[in-house]
Amino acid sequence: MKSKYIFIALIALTSLAFGASDSAIWGKDLIANIAGYDKEGSLHLGKYFTLLQSTYFKPLFFGVLVGVPAAFFIHYAVIGPMIFSHDRKKIYVFTLFNRVVHAISAISFMLIIPTGLVMMFGSFFGGGSFVRLCTEIHAISTLLFIISIVPMFFMWVRWMFIHIDDIKWLMIVGGYLNKDKKPVPAGRFNAGQKTWFWLATLGGVLMISTGTAMYFQDFKLEIIASYGISQIDLLRASAITHNALGIGILALFLVHIYMSVFAIKGAIHSMITGFKEEEEVEILHSSFYKELKEKKEI
């Protein structure tokens, strides 16, 4: 019985009923997908998606949402924030363009992430129009994200490649585990910032594309279909990627906020005014500081 249907499924790919609408999901692939669901040789994406979505994603998101702030709360309580002198010179690090781009992306994040969480925990909010509204906001604010992420990538990418300092930085976790003001090995951007950059840009592109796929749902890209990936499997893969990556982005987003707002007192001002405290640069971006010194720019 089973083998018959597998056989049918294989042939069905090439010779299916016409008249079925041109839909990429409910059209001629429908039977092939039904017969091939969770069968040997299939991608098993439907099953994995069901498993992940029903069992893992919610707890993971919840874990990150609660765990990361909790960890920081402990960090704040035990180690406390870094406070740098405001008396020394200020170093101009972010141009107006940098700051505007960052602001737009910040706004989009502030919209996307909470609305995304509302969707993930939709049952908590009771579904319905509020969650539906969040879904729409989630989709529309992606446009803001797109217009900020592209210039951001090009304006910072040259400093974002891996450097020997990054490994050292990672070994000492950026020096955040104590309050010693020992210079931390880092260039203009430290390893943490670099990770966040790559996750936000490349990860962002992935989030945008998977999100767009899920948003428009019923379309057909020949290039993907030519790899033998059905539309429904593309959507399943998109959902898995979107949610898994979402966990990472949420985590680093929380880190980013904690760093800029709490862990380093006043760090947020640099993104408003463009100036960083000299001491902050000297300690947290020591290689960059050295470089500036050599160039006699300070």
Binding site: S15, F18, G19, S21
Partner: protein, 749 residues
């Protein structure tokens, strides 16, 4: 069919197919065309392990459910059936007693069958000899077997021969008049049987009475009008007796032989006015000619619930009337299903918008033309009424007049009772329970008297006449060439007073044949013969004696009045096998064929059509559309299932012409016309043929005519009509168009 044994109709019923042990289907696709009827085929498979054999040029959905499938070259059903008969006679599988007692001239068929050995059949039909042998053995040895056909068999220039050879095959096997046997023609539209019985036909009056003076006189008196008045309505008296134009060739009547069209013979005039009621005339072969005909009319009147696409097709600028007719749900009346059983169709709602029921349109026109009183007089006769009630009085009028097919029992009261109590009947036999005991559902005709049970299985001698039994009809005389045409000894229906063959009953022979004595009063009231006996004394007396009013005769395998007394194979006018055309040429041209000179051999030999047009063109139906599709394309759900016209084409054939799946292609016909359709790859057709559905209209030769629809009446799907490219060719007897055996040429568009 009628010329073989008396009546041209489905002999058994759909439910009865469940009794069959083998089912052979020629040129029919019940899974698509009669899906609900097809459930009985599938049940036969489960109940009896019946084998389904499909013989068809394309692999249909019916074939998908069949046990055996033969891919036949279009138009070669006769060689195939002769191939079967050849093997049947050779192996002695035929029913010798049945043939001796109940069939005339089977020996001549045997002679012809000898010519068709399996090798030869393979050459002509394309069906492998082994397969033919296998199928014939199976079919001949699984009795009872039922034979199914539909338009795939009839729509040929040799259609009438096809429909004669199929019954001969059943007669040879003794499969007639049995439960699970019979020749079962699946009718198309819902009331093909009823409308045909009422003879909306140009060659006969209602009830197949013909056009003779006697018939006209019978009808004049039955209708309550003066015969001379009726005669005066006609051009001259001789035109009363002449067949009129047919649906397939009326356009020739407009064109009057001009521009090289076929000549006509029509009372000194060409056609000026065309009145159409509920007929998708865009589904007629050679649509370009239909358009030309429409363009040259004085007036075109179209009555339909939807816009008849003839109004869209024509370029005529003036005097095109479209009248909103009510649907059948907005009026009531009886409807005859394919198995000759009537059902009462109740009115569901009042006509919507400004629509009017067909009869009201007719009555209004008759008033204005001055013959309303005459038209409706017949309804008032029975009870001598002042006024009539539609449709009950019309039903009763029909029951009063139509004796030939035994509609006497079809009174409005009985038909209504049947439909109201449809839950009291058996699915397979149609027998009634409880209150309806002793009657068959829908009173399948012949239903001889107002108490008769109806006859679910024609020519069944295992039942008494009162319960629907009968022999073959005595219609063709008592003897021919010295051979007795009455049935053999002992082959009368059960319980008959006369156990042998006997002639049809007339006033003169009734006492002798039935062995009774009539009273003086009966003698005064009785009609001349059983067909015109409005007193119904003949039928009543026959019932008492267990005898059928139409006699008990032999079926005839030879129809001596036809061009081919024994059915012979003749290639289609446009044949893909020029070598076979020489061997099996078509008929000589026929003058004045339903008032039109019609070409056969001259068309066939005009040139070697297959050189320029090498591909067989086959038309067919889709499950979601019906006829010209006018009604169904107006439903958004049905239209969505097939939103556009397409052509089934084998990928290998398409590849040669550079046609991709889903791309557009042209189909050119030998008539010089063409259509542009979407190609759909399908393995259902082989590489030498293409298949197109015929339900679309609204496009013409690549041009979209949608803008011609009045506002808000455009159906949800429009497309090219298949009949723009169907070929010239008409049956020699009935003039049915040859839409299933044409040729075409394809190219990438």
């Amino acid at each position: 069919m009628a010329n073989t044994w008396g009546y041209g109709a489905m002999t058994n019923s759909l439910g009865d197919i469940q009794n069959a042990k083998a089912i052979i289907i020629f040129g029919a696709n019940p899974a698509v065309n009669h899906p609900v009827g097809f459930q009985h085929f599938l049940k036969a498979k489960e109940r009896n392990n019946a084998k389904i054999i499909v013989v068809d040029p394309v692999f249909t959905k019916t074939a998908a459910k069949a046990d055996y499938y033969c891919r036949l070259r279009p138009g070669t059903d006769i060689p195939f059936m002769y191939g079967m008969l050849h093997l049947i006679f050779k192996n002695g599988w035929h029913d010798k007693n049945f043939i001796k007692d109940r069939v005339y001239a089977m020996d001549e068929v045997m002679e012809e069958a000898k010519k068709w050995n399996p090798k030869k059949v393979e050459d002509v039909t394309g069906v492998p000899a082994d397969k033919l042998i296998q199928i014939t053995r199976l079919y001949a040895q699984s009795t009872p077997g039922t034979l199914i056909w539909a338009m795939g068999l009839t729509q040929h220039s040799i259609g009438s021969s096809n429909t004669r050879l199929a019954p001969i095959l059943q007669l040879a096997l003794g499969n007639m008049g049995e439960e699970g046997g019979g020749t079962n023609i699946l009718r198309g539209h819902d009331n093909v049987q009823g409308a045909t019985d009422m003879c909306c036909l140009s060659h006969t009056l209602p009830g197949y009475y013909g056009l003779s003076d006697g018939s006209w006189k019978y009808f004049a008196s039955s209708w309550g009008v003066d015969y001379d008045w009726l005669k005066g309505r006609f051009h001259t008296k001789e035109w009363m007796n002449k067949k009129g134009f047919t649906l397939s060739r009326w356009w020739a009547g407009v064109l009057d032989g001009k521009n090289g069209n076929d000549k006509i013979h029509n009372g000194g005039t060409n056609l000026k006015n065309l009145i159409v009621m509920g007929n998708g005339i865009t589904s007629i072969a050679q649509q370009a000619k239909v358009k030309e005909g429409l363009d040259n009319l004085d007036m075109l009147v179209l009555c339909d619930p939807f816009v008849n696409e003839a109004a869209i097709l024509t370029d005529k600028q003036d005097d095109v009337f479209i009248l909103p007719a009510a649907t059948q749900f907005e009026t009531s009346g009886s409807v005859t299903a394919t198995n000759r059983a009537a059902q009462w169709r109740n009115k569901v709602i009042e006509p919507m918008y400004e629509s009017k029921a067909d009869q009201d349109i007719m009555f209004e026109l008759a008033k204005r033309l001055g013959f309303y009183e005459q038209l409706t007089a017949g309804m008032k006769i029975k009870e001598n009424k002042k006024d009539f009630q539609w449709p009950e009085d019309a039903t009763d009028e029909i029951a009063r007049i139509i004796k030939t097919i035994g509609l006497t029992g079809w009174t409005a009261k009985r038909l209504k009772k049947h439909s109201e109590n449809w839950h009291m009947f058996d699915e397979i036999s149609g027998r009634g329970y409880g209150e309806m005991k002793g009657e068959y559902y829908g009173l399948p005709w012949p239903c001889w008297t107002e108490k008769h049970s109806g006859s679910p299985i024609l020519y069944n001698i295992n039942r008494s006449v009162a319960e629907g039994g009968m022999g073959f009809r005595n219609r063709f005389g008592l003897e021919h060439d010295g051979v007795d045409l009455l049935a053999g000894k002992g082959s009368a229906p059960k319980g008959s007073a006369n156990i042998d063959g006997y002639p049809e009953i007339t006033k003169d022979n009734i006492e002798e044949v039935l062995g009774i004595k009539l009273t003086a009063d009966e003698k005064r009231r009785i009609g001349k013969n059983w067909k015109v006996d409005t007193s119904n004394i003949i039928a009543e007396k026959c019932m008492q004696r267990g005898m059928a009013p139409y006699g008990n005769a032999k079926a005839r395998a030879k129809v001596w009045t036809f061009p081919d007394p024994i059915p012979l194979h003749r290639e289609s006018l446009h044949s893909a096998r020029p070598d076979l055309v020489k061997e099996y040429p078509s008929y000589a041209d026929k003058g004045n064929h339903y008032r039109v000179d019609t070409q056969y051999i001259s068309k066939q030999t005009e040139k070697d059509w297959s050189k320029e047009f090498p591909i067989n063109l086959i038309t067919g139906r889709l499950v979601n559309l019906n006829g010209a599709g006018m009604e169904n394309r107006a439903s958004k759900y049905l239209a969505a299932l097939s939103p556009e016209m397409f052509c089934n084409i084998n990928p290998n054939l398409a590849g040669i012409h550079g046609i991709r799946d889903g791309s557009m292609m042209w189909i050119h016909s030998p008539e010089g016309t063409k259509i542009k359709v979407k190609a759909k790859y399908s393995y259902a057709v082989s590489e030498d043929r293409v298949w197109i559905p015929f339900h679309f209209a609204g496009h013409f030769q690549g041009e979209d005519l949608s803008h011609k629809y009045p506002n808000g009446t455009k159906p949800y799907a429009v497309g090219e009509s298949a009949n723009t490219v169907t070929n010239y060719g008409y049956d020699i007897v009935t003039q049915i168009p040859e839409t299933k055996g044409g040729l075409c040429r394809i190219e990438f568009a």
